[in-house]
């Protein structure tokens, strides 16, 4: 399991109801079921991944974040997880709204477009930056809504979400040391992870 998935798992209480949006090969939900006795389910867009997950006995359905969250009733889950996908959905704000409607908490991770290497590349070359995290050229990238950590925090404020926990993580998914300063995290964190809840809860 990736290090950042382990960090996500640590945020989730035992026996919680979890929906992993973009569950990939099902590693996280399998882990949550086996080690935390969670009722963990997945939605995945890639059919090969879906088939593989179901063939492993995991409850995964074919679907995607933009279209398939609206069906669930309010508060169906304790946690709704969106890993490294927010930047690739059609309507990120709506997806977040749905996540925090159907779940009491949302756990969101995304690659940080404010990282210094990206800023430097754009400044010095004048071209769209490409790094190992942002590895596809602009004309074929699935990442149509990149944002920085500060952008995301602003959106959370606008939407009235409470940030219960946040951390910057490096490329491999390990926790990075920029815990105190958002500015530094936004400059040096390659990815970010947030645990959110609705205000007033």
């Amino acid at each position: 399991m990736r290090v950042d998935q382990r960090l996500i798992a640590e945020m989730i209480a035992p026996r919680a109801r979890v929906l992993d949006v973009g569950s990939g090969d099902g590693t996280l939900i399998d882990y949550l079921y086996r080690t935390r006795s969670c009722d963990a389910r997945g939605i995945e867009i890639d059919m090969q991944n879906v088939t593989q997950s179901v063939a492993h006995g995991l409850p995964v359905m074919h679907g995607d974040a933009d279209h398939d969250l609206a069906d669930y009733p309010d508060d169906t889950f304790d946690y709704v997880v969106l890993q490294r996908t927010l930047q690739a959905v059609e309507r990120p704000r709506e997806v977040l709204r749905q996540m925090l409607r159907i779940g009491r908490h949302a756990i969101v991770s995304f690659p940080n477009f404010g990282h210094w290497r990206l800023r430097l590349q754009l400044l010095t070359t004048g071209r769209m930056p490409m790094t190992s995290v942002w590895s596809t050229p602009w004309y074929s990238t699935p990442n149509i809504h990149p944002c920085t950590i500060q952008d995301f925090l602003l959106l959370c404020e606008e939407e009235g979400y409470v940030v219960q926990q946040w951390l910057a993580i490096d490329e491999d998914g390990a926790r990075a040391p920029w815990r105190r300063s958002i500015r530094l995290a936004n400059l040096f964190g390659e990815q970010a992870m947030f645990l959110l809840k609705r205000a007033g809860h």
Binding site: T51, A55, G57, L58, P59, D71
Partner: protein
């Protein structure tokens, strides 16, 4: 269509099905009390001491209870023998698998060929109209008879999937996991239309005799055969037909045109025509026309949402059942869009649902064919559900 050569189902049973007779009978939705109720069934594997490892497999429109053994009527292997057996995806070393002939059928379960207690004569076309709920209620009586309180799983494709969904809707506490395959929560207008063409073909046969053909020692073989030919096309796909037959023409003694004869419109026969005729003629040997009408009508009536205030989520609210919905990409009879509709309703109901669309170009029939991804899906879902049901521990 030549069906004179060998015995047909019209000649009456020449073998004995395993059957249970339930004298209390069954109250049908139409108000008729059907008694006695006979259910013909097959079982495979061993029921666990806790009686918690039973899987009910529901057959499709023209299927029967001979799931994984030689069919005594056709002499062919059971219709899902590639899926059900020791070590197979539905593993009879672990599970007790039950398959029963549907109510209204013609393989031993009470249907149009049965004797009506009141008249002492066969029901034939007077057999009361039945619904998917009646079919499932009859199966529930069999499950009662076998002393099973809760089924571990109900699995079915096509009309079998309609039964699986009906189980989940009508007996949620009696089924732990449900697998509706290549099916739909309602019968679409297009599918009703196909059924209507099938029925009209039967009605148009001079041997139909208003459904009392058996009194005349006849069967509407031509009509039923045409019905089957038409239906069979809907089970395939253009890609499958092209691959199997293309535009090839048959060249054999039976169809060859003598060189001397004048040109004829139908002097040659495309392979696909010959194949369909074969499908039609073998079908009428094993299937009863009145059963065909009774069961296709039950499919036409099927609409779970309409029965629940128009919301398909309603029958599944608070359901603890685990669902695995499977569709096939080239199935145009029960297309993926209808499975997706079902999945969305299950999500609205908050149910635990897996959903896979299997990539295949073989159309609706793909669920009966060799599709490795499908096999893995069935096996995985069953084993995953078994783990949740804590079946793995203990002595099943």
């Amino acid at each position: 269509m030549d069906i004179s050569a060998s015995p047909t189902i019209a000649d009456g049973p020449v073998y004995t099905h395993q059957t249970v007779r339930l004298d209390n009978g069954l109250d049908l939705e139409c108000g008729v009390h059907l008694a006695p109720l006979e259910i013909a069934y097959c079982t495979y594997g061993t029921l666990s001491p806790k009686r918690d490892n039973a899987i009910l497999v529901c057959h499709a429109l023209t299927g029967d209870q001979y799931l994984a053994e030689k069919n005594p009527l056709t002499g062919k292997p059971g219709w899902w023998s590639r899926m059900v057996g020791p070590g197979l995806p539905i593993d009879t070393d672990r599970y007790f698998v039950i398959c029963s002939n549907v109510l209204g059928g013609c393989m031993g379960t009470t249907g149009p060929r049965s004797i009506c207690a009141e008249t002492g004569k066969a029901w034939d076309s007077e057999f009361p109209p039945i619904t998917m709920h009646d079919i499932v209620a009859a199966q529930a009586k069999l499950i009662d008879h076998l002393g099973i309180e809760r089924l571990f799983a109900v699995i079915g494709g096509s009309m079998g999937g309609m039964q699986a969904l009906t189980w989940a809707a009508d007996f949620p506490e009696r089924v732990f996991a449900v697998m509706p395959i290549a099916t739909s929560p309602f019968h679409s207008a297009q599918n009703i239309a196909f059924n209507e063409v099938s029925r009209q073909a039967i009605f148009a046969d001079p041997d139909w005799h208003n459904g009392h053909y058996r009194d005349f020692g006849a069967i509407p073989a031509r009509g039923l055969g045409v019905a089957r030919m038409m239906a069979h096309i809907t089970y395939l796909s253009e890609a499958a037909l092209s691959r199997k037959f293309g535009r090839r023409v048959r060249h054999d003694a039976a169809t060859a045109v003598p060189a001397s004869s004048s040109p004829s419109l139908f002097g040659e026969m495309f392979e696909v025509e010959s194949y369909l005729r074969h499908q039609g003629s073998t079908f009428v040997r094993r299937f009863d026309a009145n059963s065909y009408l009774t069961i296709t009508r039950a499919m036409d009536y099927f609409d779970l949402a309409a029965e629940h205030d128009g919301d398909l989520a309603n029958p599944f609210r608070n359901s603890q059942t685990r669902f695995c919905v499977v569709s096939f990409s080239s199935d145009w009879l029960f297309p993926t869009s209808q499975s997706r509709l079902l999945v969305r309703a299950l999500n609205r109901a908050g149910a635990n649902v897996s959903f896979v669309e299997i990539e295949s170009d073989r159309g609706h029939d793909a669920f009966l064919l060799d599709e490795p991804d499908f096999d893995r899906t069935i096996r995985g879902f069953i084993n995953g559900a078994a783990e949740h049901a804590a079946l793995l521990e203990g002595d099943c």
